[in-house]
Amino acid sequence: MKTEIIKTTLNKIPSKIFLKKDVKKVYFFEHTGGLKTKTIEIIAKERGGEVELKGSVSLKNTDDFNLKTLTTHFVGNNKVRIHIKAVLDDQAKLNYEGLINIEKGADFSDSFLQQDNLLLNDGVVCNSSPQLQIKANEVKASHGVTMGSFDQNQLFYLKSRALSEKMAKKLLVQGFLLF
């Protein structure tokens, strides 16, 4: 399997990504605001390919961002992994929708979506809707979403190591966004 790693801005990620036989495409982005919407379709019309879409979204002030990913497995024997992390501060707003669609006959599709959100301020609005539509049964499909703030134990630990609260939080955000 040939691996292609594409590290770019969210804006430059193609709106349609096609799976290709024997190729693993890994897309990676770090988005820090400036877009209103972005929709990415991942389409499997060929067997034997892999796509990974990994990225972070950091929103603050009055950023308002709609992100949508749409994965469709028309055929099987392929693998898609989507992992999106978001940090929201101030009055930022994120609307995420992620549909994984596995069509009839697309057996041996393997699709997974994870969406994690770190919320830093009571003024934020975080909406996430990961969806599944599965019409074949020889498949692996799952998704997960988490939303929350800092782990108090981790924060306490860093402060006990003489870091200020501000510095500790900064480090925890950096750690959260690491892949």
């Binding site: 919320l119 909406n127 969806q131 019409k135 049964n137 998704h143 939303m147």
Partner: protein
């Protein structure tokens, strides 16, 4: 001896409750719905004017609302092809001996005398839109627990109804709650006084009999501070070729420190549209648990919800959906956190077989002032055959930074290794699959009263016959 319509075999494997009594009704309206029908229902029941007014306003709302453009396929429902009211006997009977023979036979088939002999507290049974038989045990009466049909409740306790009826689910909530508010009949009314714990489950049975009957029961449960009650409902319906509609509304108020568990095993036959609105308001430190089992019906759209209105309140939903060929179970929940330190937990297990479709549809909403709240949702779906379908449509909205939410969902088919192991132990493939499915649903089944657990496991086994190949 009355004539019985013989047991019909349905295409799957025989629906053992698929019998029907020839229709014997005191009152049976012609098909169709109009303002006159609504007025007649209210007059027949001798209701106060304010209830008639509520019904008529709801009817207007119903006419104005559109059908939902999401969920299952509702296009074949013809509201004019349904009888909206029927009444099988002149009045509610207090003792089993007084109940007419054919109605008694129906309940015999459903196993009610056994249930009555056992330790159940009180049984109110409904035979097509009316409470026919009930016996409230003295123990409950002594504790001040009210458990009766909704019609009777309205007559005896109008002030409670004025206060709470429609307070949790207003007519305008959706088209079907509007319909129910206009033509409701039957259902249960439960009031548990402060500090009273009702240990034995309160039960009620439902039944749809005549062709094209709409079932519009309305249930109101109020658990006063510090109380506890477990309400159980299970229903069956015979097979008919034209489609039936079941559009119930259940409103529950769980006051401070109280706890309510509402358990349902729905097993309507495969021609029934089951479109139900169920919702609870949970106040300070209270607990509301929905245990929801959906096995039957052609299409079920049901999202038992909890509005967490008081600090420390907790909502739980344990949902089980089984969709066989030509069935669509579209179920889920709404957990709305509107107060701090509230928590919600949802476990949804679904099984799709043949060409069946099972969908989870849920909302978890944490409002800005619901600080420090927690929510966890877990959806597991099992796809038995290659034409089976499952969907998951969750919506998670969080408006503060002190709450924690987790959601996960997964889909799989019956595990090959587990299947191989069981078959190597002498079970055939069908038996092995049934056992695995039983294990899959066990966390929910173990919360059911025993006779329900047994019935449920037997139903699943029956459904799974012929699932191989």
């Amino acid at each position: 001896m009355k004539n019985k319509v013989p047991l019909k075999q349905n295409t799957k494997s025989g629906y053992q409750y698929g019998f029907s009594d020839p229709e014997k009704y005191e009152v049976k309206f012609e098909k169709g719905l109009n303002e006159g029908v609504v007025k007649r229902i209210s007059k027949l029941k001798g209701e106060p004017d304010w209830m008639l007014k509520i019904r008529l306003e709801a009817y207007k709302v119903f006419l104005g609302k559109k059908m939902p453009n999401w969920g299952g396929d509702l296009s074949k429902i013809d509201f004019n092809n349904i009888h909206y009211y029927l009444k099988p006997t002149p009045k509610e009977q207090k003792s089993w001996e007084d109940v007419p023979d054919d109605i008694k036979n129906t309940f015999n088939r459903l196993g009610i005398p056994e249930a009555e002999k056992e330790y159940l507290a009180g049984v109110k049974t409904q035979y097509d839109s009316e409470i026919v038989y009930g016996s409230v045990k003295k123990e409950l009466e002594d504790k001040g627990v009210l458990f009766m049909g909704t019609d009777e409740g309205l007559k005896k306790y109008p002030e409670i109804f004025r206060q709470y009826f429609g307070s949790v689910i207003p007519a305008a909530d959706n088209k079907f709650s509007a319909l129910n508010t206009a033509v409701w009949s039957g259902g249960s009314f439960v009031y548990v006084p402060k500090g009273v714990k009702v240990d034995l489950p309160l039960q009620a049975y439902f039944r749809i009999n005549a062709k094209n009957i709409g079932q519009f029961e309305r249930t109101l449960i109020i658990a006063d501070e510090g109380s506890f009650v477990n309400y159980v409902e299970g229903c069956t319906a015979p097979i008919y070729t034209s489609d039936s509609l079941h559009s119930a509304v259940v409103e529950i108020i769980v006051k401070k420190d109280a706890r309510v568990r509402y358990t349902t095993i729905q097993n309507w036959s495969n021609n029934v549209y089951n479109l139900v609105t169920k919702r609870a308001f949970a106040y300070e430190n209270s607990v509301m648990e929905w245990v929801d089992g959906n096995i039957g019906s052609k299409l079920t759209m049901k999202y038992p919800s909890v509005y967490l209105l008081g600090e420390g309140a907790r909502g739980e939903v344990l949902s089980l959906a089984y969709a066989n060929s030509s069935q669509h179970q579209d179920t889920g929940t709404k957990m709305i956190h509107l107060a701090p330190n509230t928590s919600s937990n949802v476990i949804s297990k679904s099984i799709s077989q043949g060409t069946g479709r099972s969908s989870y549809r849920g909302i978890v909403h944490i409002a800005k002032n619901a600080k420090n709240s927690k929510s966890n949702v877990e959806c597991d779906a099992l796809l038995i055959n290659k034409n089976s379908r499952t969907d998951t449509y969750p919506f998670i909205k969080v408006n503060n930074s002190s709450s924690r939410v987790g959601h996960e969902a997964s889909v799989s088919k019956v595990n090959e290794e587990q299947l191989f192991y069981l078959m190597s132990r002498g079970l055939n493939e069908e038996q092995a699959k049934a056992l695995i499915v039983s294990g899959f649903i066990e966390p929910i089944v173990k919360l059911l009263p025993m006779e329900y657990a047994v019935e449920l496991n037997r139903l699943i086994e029956l459904e799974m016959e012929g699932s191989v190949g």
